[in-house]
């Protein structure tokens, strides 16, 4: 029995929705609204590891008694555990590249993308709500790391965070652009979970960082996004939106490296 807890098909939540559609897997879906803190409710599946949420917020996959978190780890799990079309290359070196892309995207792209998306979409949404009940809700969040990420949206220095995020983007975006220049998919000739991962984190950038991700600045990324949009599994996933505006659905992501 497979249960996916997800929100709008955007960023972290989009990934397992695409992968499960690629696999043709049937699963039970539970839609939740993380901006209303439903993921901290008593009914929400949690254990010591899932509560830490190394990515801060994101989808949760429950497989029998296992609670699986971390959006790229969900992709690896779906690719390895479920029947259906292969979503990892067969060659060990290309598989290495898929895992390495997942790590690069998680550690260097996810943070600036979510910082920019939260500043543009989530922070104004939170500020439109009555301040005191919101602060009480956030103050009750455990663990501290996740609480701090939400509190930073209310109290943090948003302008500096946005400047820092823009400075962090060119590295990982440049790497992806270079890789897609020489092959249609990130690990080579075979479509894989690395492409699903990259698609989910790059999709917001034409809006959030148009000087970096556009037809003139990164033509291979733009063509890649088009290729992804033409996949039936991507259309299936995007059609699961309930708000009709999935591109505005952001949650806090991993913190930027504390080393600089």
């Amino acid at each position: 029995m497979l249960e996916l807890y997800h929100w709008e098909p955007n960023i972290f939540f989009l990934k397992p929705l695409v992968a499960l559609a690629e696999k043709g897997t049937s699963y039970s879906a539970s839609y939740f609204d993380p901006t209303k803190f439903e993921q901290f409710g008593a009914q929400f599946p949690a254990n010591a590891e899932s509560a830490l949420q190394l990515e801060r917020e994101g989808p949760v996959l429950v497989s029998d008694d296992a609670i699986i978190t971390g959006s790229f780890f969900l992709l690896e799990y779906i690719a390895e555990a479920l029947p259906g079309p292969a979503l990892l290359p067969t060659d060990p070196y290309e598989r290495y590249r898929a895992h390495a892309w997942g790590q690069t995207i998680a550690l260097s792209l996810a943070s600036p993308v979510t910082t920019l998306g939260c500043a543009r979409h989530l922070a104004p949404l939170l500020r439109s709500r009555p301040a005191q009940p919101l602060r009480t809700q956030i103050a009750a969040i455990e663990p501290l790391e996740r609480r701090a990420a939400w509190m930073a949206l209310l109290e943090g220095d948003e302008a500096s965070a946005v400047v820092a995020a823009h400075a962090q983007l060119p590295g990982p975006v440049g790497r992806i652009e270079a890789a897609l220049e020489s092959s249609p998919w990130l690990t080579g000739s075979q479509y894989s979970i690395a492409d699903i991962d990259a698609f989910a984190m790059l999709s917001p950038l034409p809006e959030l960082a148009p000087s970096l991700v556009s037809a003139s600045a990164s033509p291979h990324i733009m063509a890649f996004l088009q290729r992804m949009h033409s996949r039936p599994a991507v259309r299936t996933a995007l059609a699961l939106s309930r708000t009709g505006r999935p591109a505005e659905a952001f949650v806090p992501g991993p913190e930027a490296s504390r080393w600089g």
């Binding site: 799990y77 555990a81 895992h99 590295g171």
Partner: protein, 264 residues
């Protein structure tokens, strides 16, 4: 003839130690290229031809170059015969990856921030300032340049160091709790999660004696000692050239004597 393996590495410690220990567990012979991290060998042109990012370790297998240490370990397990180092149950494999990310992205940066501020930064600052400056300017990745500058000139704020100490204490507690219920990271089977964790934590009883010891964290201590007793671990740490790797001796079962001399 099988393709040759060449590993560019520093001490058996942190990222360099991960593929060293994984290769040893698999029984894979490799050509070893030792790079002195503190002399910035990894930013010299001959190494940048192998890995333009100038990070270590790097592994070359035939014509394939691998530069990310954690995915590199998964490759080592997959590409070579020998005992499996990853659980076959996908849920346990997820657990292994979760813990490796917890070690790599949460625990290690805090631990190394403390270590650098106390040991490595002061040692590096003994060098000629102009030479040090030039060495930093040669670092290819801007993010690494910023990190090295911070480390070498001790630009960590007291607030950052306090937060790192809090995280080390918290992460140590999470690990102790996990190991009180499981022999290894993935239950009963030794895996890359343990290889990763050992590289991070083998010196904890020496560097964090108040947080990691037989009274406060008996399960971490037992786990580290058990891993240290493995022949592959012995062989790998024997490749160390500096005081850093010899810290592992704190894990000898008759460790009390070493602990005393280590603190002296």
């Amino acid at each position: 003839m099988p393709a040759m393996v060449t590993l560019y590495h520093w001490e058996p410690n942190a990222n360099s130690g991960k593929p060293m220990l994984a290769l040893a567990e698999k029984g894979v012979e490799y050509q070893s290229h030792y790079l002195d991290l503190l002399r910035f060998d990894q930013h010299q042109p001959e190494y940048l031809r192998i890995n333009p990012d100038g990070t270590i370790p790097a592994m070359v297998h035939g014509d394939r170059v691998l530069t990310e240490s954690t995915p590199m370990m998964e490759y080592i397990d997959e590409a070579f015969p020998g005992p499996p180092l990853r659980p076959s149950d996908p849920r346990e494999r997820w657990r292994m990856r979760w813990w490796m990310r917890f070690f790599d992205a949460y625990f290690a940066p805090s631990l190394s921030m403390i270590g650098w501020s106390i040991f490595i930064g002061p040692a590096a600052r003994q060098r000629d300032p102009a030479e040090l400056q030039a060495a930093i300017e040669r670092i290819p990745l801007e993010s690494r340049r910023i990190a090295w500058r911070k480390a070498l000139y001790n630009q960590f704020s007291e607030q950052e160091l306090t937060e790192s100490r809090r995280r080390v204490l918290f992460a140590t507690g999470v690990l102790e709790e996990h190991l009180s219920r499981h022999t290894y990271i993935c239950g009963d089977s030794y895996s890359l999660g343990d290889v990763n964790g050992f590289n991070l934590g083998y010196a904890l009883p020496l560097s964090q004696p108040d947080r990691c010891n037989d009274q406060k964290t008996p399960h971490i201590m037992e786990w580290l000692r058990k891993i240290y007793e493995r022949p592959a671990t012995r062989a790998t740490w024997a490749k160390g050239r500096t005081q850093m790797a010899s810290r592992v001796k704190i894990l000898e079962r008759s460790g009390a004597a070493q602990r005393d001399s280590g603190n002296a």
